[in-house]
Symmetry: C2
Subunit: 240 residues, 2 copies
């Protein structure tokens, strides 16, 4: 078990900014459950992974300028339309596609997330920093009870992570030096980009992010300020 | 007492967007109390009114292009520096000015606001739509316990109310037609601009917005969908 954070770090940080997909909510498990309810014949694991796999290439097309600024809801929809035929669901009508696309608004939090966030909120200002759009993040939070003080998104900064303007944007919004913001994420590349901007970083282990068939390596990597099993452990380490 | 809202209106609306200064929080009373604590010799009523009076002209300079995009925290600070000498406070040092400027982050809610919002939140998605910046609105909400689902601001749309892009921006963020958004405000001009964009409108009486020496006319005006004494009355009218 990691040592408690030095008191200096815990009191230097004022804002905790959270990655969402995979870090706070279980996108894989939630999509698998949603599919199983309606189309039990579909391989939900493969479907969830295929939908998510289209995400980075789609964002790259926006950031390269090939596509104009696009909300994640719309990127998700483009990818969905592409993969439906592969899973025998080409017949879905517009209403069914819209409803399924909003599965990303209905993702369930990891079991520790709500209680962990509530504890962290007692000491820190909590915001999202996700590539998900504001409407998606707000509806997700309302349904799941995620107690954000502020919902921030790539949509506010018109750039996706790992663009530096997103990490520095959080510091600017709250008028604090970057070192007073800590990014909390289950992805080392996200954390490394934040660290390069001067933010503090906390890695959260989510070994089941991609499902039980593809366990993720969650071993510590150098460079992060904290390494936590989950958000309750993070609250312990930050003395909340 | 106004009649209850038609059930059709209450169920058509999905998002309630709230003006903040004067509608949800008592800027005049809060500033007067803050000044009285530290500089009891200053006329707090005149100081609060002078500070607020500089607000619209300062925003107009931004919207005309004379000034680049500027956060309200910075406009407040510019106005503060201008008025301090008139009140015998020209000697305040930088730290004192920064602290006083953040009085806008420490505004108290009207007595009905938190309970009213909690009731409204059970049925509607609640967001701010204020010219105040995100950091200001977030810190205010955290201190006062205002239970927003999402903090939206002129800062997100890079335009101040009454620019149509702010009202239409709320509908766009939540991917709903403008008629499914209701602006709640204590100012008829704000509501009229929202109505022109197709939003629904609810006027809230705040007769003491400018203090007890300058009671505001809060009589109903045609054109608003609802007219409420306060946010508890609004919750009653919307069946929350």
């Amino acid at each position: 078990m990691p040592a408690a954070a030095p008191a200096a770090l815990a009191s230097e940080v004022e804002v905790l900014a959270f990655d969402i997909f995979g870090t706070v909510v279980d996108w894989h498990g939630s999509l698998v459950r949603e599919l199983a309810q309606t189309w039990p014949q579909v391989d939900g694991n493969a479907f969830a992974l295929a939908w998510r796999a289209g995400y980075r290439p789609a964002m790259a097309r926006v950031m390269s300028g090939e596509l104009g600024w696009t909300l994640i809801d719309d990127l998700h929809r483009t990818i969905l339309d592409q993969i439906l035929p592969q899973f025998g669901l080409a017949h879905l009508d517009e209403a069914a596609r819209q409803h399924l696309n909003r599965a990303w608004h209905r993702l369930d939090p990891w079991p520790d997330a709500v209680a962990g966030l509530q504890r962290l909120k007692s000491r820190y200002l909590l915001c999202t920093l996700s590539n998900g759009n504001l409407g998606l993040l707000t509806r997700m939070a309302k349904r799941a009870g995620l107690p954000w003080d502020c919902v921030l998104s790539a949509e506010v900064f018109r750039a996706y992570k790992p663009d530096p303007s997103t990490y520095l944007g959080v510091a600017r919004v709250f008028d604090v030096p970057p070192a007073r913001v800590m990014l909390v994420a289950a992805h080392h590349d996200d954390l490394a980009a934040a660290s390069a901007c001067g933010l503090r970083t906390a890695y959260v282990e989510r070994p089941l992010e991609f499902g039980a068939l593809q366990i993720k390596d969650v071993s510590p990597q150098p460079g992060n300020d904290l390494h936590a099993r989950d958000l309750l452990d993070l609250a312990d380490q930050l003395g909340c």
